[in-house]
Symmetry: C2
Subunit: 456 residues, 2 copies
């Protein structure tokens, strides 16, 4: 599969470079839209634009809903209002809203002026919602019926609307005010007696969300209840849209990318797409923070110059202290961040988590401190230095573990993305503090160390 | 929601502790199975077992398919063969196989001996597959029809099987040998002329996988093609099962947890569930590696004792060098790992990625090297030391960035999980190498530095 796509990409580049533009029109014949989206994303800008222009409107419209944000934006930049409108007209409302959100404001309004009255109402409704909320995810296209009508009538309604129906799992039953009463899975329409009323067949016990629910929470609900679609209500219980599971998979991938890029300190990079210059710009702020932290460490060490001059061996163990503080901090913060992403939080769990991490760090601190004590005592033939280092490592492991768990929990309470805590900030902070604790304690014990010190 | 669950948990604990076991039976009345699974996961072992025993078989069976692995295992430990068999009998084959996979071997065979002949065939078929393959994910329950029969007959078949049908999106059409020919979405059954034949209505162009496809690839296919269900074929094209999208969401979460725990170096921890002792045991191997790396750094630094004694200030910048090497390495490896997880790889992309990372690292190295040069020159009033440090940082940034991208690409080629490269191994390795490069270069330039050196 991968191999075929890459071949196709090379073939398209070669016919473009040979100037045989007329062949471009057939290059994607028989290629499924998701594969076409992938091929477009791998082409350079000018070939991508040329190829996209050869696609039929129906196919082009579908492909455009499937490309990554960066690629979609790049394609849109090459199109005029008159070319964008027919593509938007062919999309489901949620896809259309996603594409419109990528347009600059003036262009957006021009496009909206040219689409049909009904689509305009749906779309301007959708564009009001935060993109990362249930309202931003939902589609307005719904198959709704009033309570009291017969199953047979629902089936004839579906036959009439056949052309516009795709990926429908449920019929929603509403009352006269549009309030959601229940749902009927499509398969039940086949099984139920055609003469029974929808309210006799429908399931009343359904999971719903309001339009302002955060997308991460929506994804959690899909995962928990094994849903295929989820109705979205306004504050009065009126049905305003539905979210389907295929969009939820995209949400999960997006949230994961966010967490991982934050953990790695790369900013909100996009994959496949960006230039080295932009990648560098995304990563530099995090690296500069790290660099300033490193310079701060240097200043801290300079402060302990006297101690370091009298026992140079202290210096050798600075990397041990900083690396271990960083490692245990990342472990506990990554676990806590993941727990928060998967399961939410509550007061009981917060103190429970800190207590659990405290116990883990006591165990780890004891084992690792003992190993370092042993290693240093044997290598440097200096039991006192070994004891000092073992103790410092023990303290730093407990400190860094607890900070690693505490910071994301605190960020969550402050409604800041807890994944921030897994990034370079906390590691840098732990580095400086670790050096301070280590050299501070060493300085206190300098005389004791010095007396027993025997330089190998 | 969260609040209600926590209240329920506390209520259950309180009635259990008050000894009012008879009230336990009603504690989960009206609670949806996924919520019940969550409540069970938050209860201590003995209360969990007592509560589970009060549940009706249908409900208990559903709840048991929804609890996390650790909780399911804990519940199973409290049950006897005679109690497990009716629970398994009520499950879909994929869920049953997942639960059976958690049983110790002897118990598994005893349970299999007691289930119905047909279930036995399905289950022993499923248990043969790797849990992380398409075969391990699929269910055997399928609605298949032979080509040539009429839509009306399909509908009557569905009416007859009504009780066993749940979450069905597609009817699969097979030939006399069981080879998959096409599929019909349920909604098309409503729309199509009842007198038409299934092979006139079916979609022939369908995405399929073979049973040995890795689950990560399966998840990628679902995401790319926006699928709700995916037929699984054997090597002869015979339809053997289907995978549904709700299981795919679990797969994605599982793979993400794997990547993140590897990135954090915490081993394959389970969330919510494990004791501090087990958590500590999962994390310690990674930490011990880090500690040994740290001790190796100390030995490297000891080797440069002479240089350090003559210019102590060199020591102050060791944390800068190690921290920055670690930061840029994690950035590039996390991005490459994520790209591999999302999109697969090919030779063109491998060299492309390395080249991209090289350009990014050149830019970052120049900027950060210049900042360090400036900072050190001003602080230490020592231009030569500043130049040395700026150059070393530049070299280390390029080296660590390229290693960060290269190692996961190489691991992928060797069919090892590339996420391993984001963990503490590479950071530790970069630390040691960074110190070696830095102090090595400094030692070469010692005379040049020494002449110009002016200790503040």
């Amino acid at each position: 599969m991968e191999y075929q796509l890459e071949n196709k990409v090379e073939y398209i580049i070669s016919i473009f470079e040979a100037g045989e533009i007329s062949f471009l029109g057939n290059a994607l014949e028989g290629v499924k839209a998701p594969d076409a989206a992938e091929i477009l994303s791998r082409l350079p800008h000018d070939i991508r634009a040329a190829l996209f222009n050869t696609l039929e409107p129906d196919y082009a419209s579908e492909v455009l809903t499937l490309t990554d944000e960066g690629v979609t934006r790049d394609i849109l930049e090459g199109l005029e209002v008159g070319e964008i409108v027919p593509l938007i007209n062919r999309m489901a409302s949620d896809d259309a809203a996603d594409v419109l959100n990528l347009l600059p404001n003036t262009l957006l309004h021009e496009v909206l002026r040219h689409i049909s009255r009904e689509d305009y109402r749906d779309l301007s409704e959708l564009l009001k919602f935060d993109e990362e909320s249930a309202g931003g995810l939902m589609a307005r296209e719904l198959l709704t019926v009033k309570d009291g009508i017969k199953i047979a009538d629902v089936i004839s309604l579906i036959r009439k609307e056949a052309e516009n129906i795709e990926h429908i799992q449920n019929i929603f039953v509403i009352d006269g005010q549009g309030v959601l009463l229940g749902k009927i899975p499509v398969i039940s329409l086949l099984i139920a007696d055609p003469q029974s009323r929808v309210d006799e067949v429908m399931t009343r016990d359904i999971v719903t969300v309001t339009a302002d629910t955060d997308q991460e929470e929506v994804a959690g609900i899909f995962a928990k209840y094994d849903l295929y679609s989820l109705p979205v209500l306004d504050e009065k219980g009126k049905l305003v849209g539905r979210i389907t599971v295929d969009d939820i998979i995209d949400v999960i991938e997006e949230e994961v990318n966010e967490d991982i890029t934050m953990m790695a300190g790369t900013g909100d990079e996009e994959f496949w797409e960006r230039s080295p210059l932009r990648l560098s710009r995304a990563r530099l702020p995090w690296l500069l923070t790290g660099l300033l932290g490193g310079i701060a460490s240097a200043i801290v060490m300079n402060h302990f110059q006297g101690s370091l001059e009298s026992i140079l061996a202290l210096v050798f163990f600075v990397p041990v202290i900083t690396a271990m503080g960083g490692n245990v901090g990342i472990q506990s913060s990554a676990i806590v961040v993941r727990e928060l992403a998967v399961g939410g939080t509550s007061a009981v769990q917060t103190s429970g988590k800190l207590f659990r991490e405290l116990k883990v760090s006591l165990l780890n601190g004891l084992v690792l401190g003992a190993v370092l004590l042993l290693a240093v005592s044997l290598w440097r033939r200096d039991l006192r230095l070994g004891m000092l280092l073992g103790m410092c490592l023990f303290i730093i492991i407990i400190w860094a573990t607890l900070m690693g768990a505490f910071v994301p929990l605190m960020l969550k309470k402050m409604k800041i993305d807890p994944a921030l805590a897994t990034g370079p900030f906390i590691t840098t902070f732990n580095d400086i503090l670790g050096i301070l604790i280590y050299l501070g304690i060493a300085t206190l014990f300098l005389d004791w160390l010095g007396k027993g010190y025997n330089p190998g």
